[in-house]
Symmetry: C2
Subunit: 223 residues, 2 copies
């Protein structure tokens, strides 16, 4: 057993690189040299180039012909753009998912919220947050929509991690609970409008401090 679900080398590489970029281990603008990466993964450059194409499509890397591939940079404008796209698409997904939501799913989503509240660091919080959103949206059963949302979520997480590089304090996610309450009571429209506002909080007036650091309070809700 113990067979890995990643079948091609290229997909494994793109997954690992995407994770590193999102977590901030590879900083914006950094050049991704195919030969180095090939060496690290013990492969040739061919699957590496395929992985680059995938990252490019996800918006995590940009490729300039004959000049190589580098980690995509992102500014506040793009963060807002991603937040608005997520808001629009997650609302759509929730509208379709609502009628398929079961109490069991809502309980699992509530558990995810609790885990987020208890998270020790930003990575644990993000993992729980992502699970919450996935749980309530997946029942829409629209694969293309869910894939797009997933890519946007990764872009959001990247911003979140970069902003919260240092310092993390526990908080309680009231929006998640309000969404769940509305869903339990069958008020799907209200749940959707809370979700819309909730997601759009990302990238709102980060008020960077002197040294480029960012004030954590500006992101009271980053779901």
């Amino acid at each position: 057993m113990a067979k890995e679900p990643e079948d091609t080398i290229a997909s494994r590489i793109s997954r690992v690189l995407a994770d590193r970029i999102v977590r901030g281990e590879l900083s914006a603008g950094l050049r991704l040299r195919q030969d180095h990466i090939a060496e690290e993964f013990g492969t040739s450059h061919v699957p590496v180039r395929e992985a680059f194409r995938r990252l490019e499509a996800q918006g995590l890397a940009i490729s300039e012909p004959r000049r190589g591939v580098r980690v995509a940079s992102f500014d506040l404008k793009e963060v807002r753009e991603v937040a608005e796209m997520r808001a629009a698409l997650e609302v759509l997904a929730l509208r379709h998912a609502a009628k398929h939501l079961t109490p069991a799913i809502l309980d699992a989503a509530e558990e995810a919220t609790r885990e987020g509240d208890a998270a020790a660091d930003v990575h644990a919080w993000e993992e729980a947050n992502r699970r919450f959103h996935t749980l309530i949206l997946a029942p829409c059963n629209m694969s293309r929509l869910l894939a797009s949302i997933d890519d946007l979520h990764a872009a959001s997480a990247r911003f979140l991690f970069s902003a919260w590089r240092s310092g993390w304090e526990k908080r309680t996610d009231h929006d998640h609970r309000a969404i769940l309450l509305a869903l339990r009571q069958g008020r799907a429209d209200e749940a959707a409008s809370i979700l819309e506002r909730h997601v759009q909080w990302i990238g709102r007036a980060p008020k960077s401090t002197q040294k480029g650091a960012v004030a954590p309070d500006a992101f009271a809700i980053v779901g």
Copy 2:
């Protein structure tokens, strides 16, 4: 001069293949054999594989490891999904674009609508239709959003071409004109809601006739 804007062979291949898939020249389920394609384009298989990754990300092809790549199939459910995503994202784009629209842009969009009304075949109509949408949305200046809309537009066009394989009759696009009128009068919200309804007409009850052919009238508006 006459230098082509496509710099890498891989991007050229993916563009040509995407066009063929959208136009229906490559039918759903067809296997894309890398060596054959490599031979056709006079290249090796490496850029072909890169092109495959791009097509996969666009949802035009699906790749099964060790079993190769085939043209993605699509059913009515996915067409509706794409239509709803387009509606959500185009509304978002228009809301941001509205304040940057100039009379010159609106005139160009009106000209595109006229060309669509006069189109001799479905390909000419689609080209004009696409130009209309691009013209009024591009000023939102959100590159990621516009790229997503473009991919969705390609998926829509694919469905349109497959449904309208035989038979094409001229029509007048009242929705486009209503959108332009609302924009000229500064009623962006109304323009957005017409656009939302307009785009969602795609994939509504195609009522296929006996032989799998589709009744053109079912797609009175396919924008």
